[in-house]
């Protein structure tokens, strides 16, 4: 791996980690919160609901992946 590729791979691994879907979910949840807040709709509940859901889905995917490998 070339140094530049290695650097970007390192940054990706540092910020996003093992599960890119969780990172994407956090960005979407923040965007949804901003959207609701802009429309003057209570938005504080979005993050807790999405975070618990993202964590559960991430654990479920990992458990399925392990059970597939046997």
């Amino acid at each position: 791996m070339r140094p530049v590729e290695g650097f970007f791979a390192g940054v990706w691994g540092f910020v996003v980690g093992d599960d890119w879907r969780t990172a994407l979910g956090v960005v979407v949840a923040l965007a949804l919160t901003a959207l609701l807040a802009t429309a003057a709709i209570p938005a504080w509940w979005v993050m807790p609901v999405v975070v618990v859901g993202l964590l559960a889905l991430s654990i479920l995917r990992a458990a399925r992946s392990v059970s597939r490998r046997g």
Partner: protein, 221 residues
């Protein structure tokens, strides 16, 4: 340490110059992503779906690798330098980022830096006083606790930066932190209940480690 200090010096002032809401969304989002990574790994290790860190085994493997790389009695030892540089920089950047973002978010960077320095001294003092091997530290429990705190503060600041108002203001953290902890424990309990294989592996993992052998697979970081 110099590279780490340069990174902190470059990013510290840049972070504090951002508008507070932008900073909160950035910091909250990143802390939340980090926190969820820590929580995910801690939960997977708790239920036996991921190998726990075996510090004795890791130490043995690193020592063997260093021995295989050959020793130099004089001059510059490139292998030792690379291993030390990588370890200090990677772990240091993560800790420095957390300290910087917590401090910048409250506009109290010096206080966060002083607290981090105090924590370093405390850890050194504890290490000297206890002289216990790292294997005795309940690492996974600490990682679960750190994951809960990072996720909670990340969620709180991220939502505030995005324009949401928490019921009760800052006091909402008193509900968010226990709420995230309860959710994590509920997930552990649910996976253990639904997967007898995981429960068995977790039970085996809870048995104290035997003296080191020459075989085995390293735990993932």
């Amino acid at each position: 340490m110099l590279a780490l200090a340069a990174i902190v010096a470059a990013f510290g002032p840049a972070l504090t110059s951002l508008p507070i809401d932008v900073l909160r969304v950035l910091v909250g989002g990143l802390l939340l992503i980090f926190g969820l990574q820590w929580l995910r790994k801690a939960i997977l290790r708790s239920v036996g779906l991921k190998a726990k860190h075996d510090e004795l085994q890791i130490y043995r493997q690193e020592t063997e690798a260093a021995g295989a790389a050959g020793s130099r009695h004089s001059g510059f030892d490139g292998y030792a330098f690379t291993v030390s540089f990588k370890g200090v920089l990677l772990e240091g950047v993560e800790v420095a980022f957390i300290v910087l973002t917590f401090g910048a978010n409250q506009q109290r960077l010096p206080l966060a830096a002083a607290a981090a320095g105090l924590a370093v001294l405390l850890v050194i003092a504890l290490g000297v006083a206890a002289r216990a091997p790292l294997a005795r530290v309940p690492e996974n429990t600490m990682k679960l606790a750190v994951g809960v705190m990072l996720s909670s503060f990340g969620m709180f600041w991220g939502a505030e930066g995005a324009g949401a108002s928490w019921p009760g203001g800052d006091a909402a953290l008193l509900a968010i932190v226990p709420g995230v902890l309860i959710a994590a424990i509920a997930l552990i309990w649910t996976v253990l209940r639904c997967s007898p294989r995981s429960a068995l592996v977790a039970l085996v993992d809870s048995v104290p480690a035997q003296p080191p052998e020459n075989s085995g697979e390293a735990a993932n970081a």
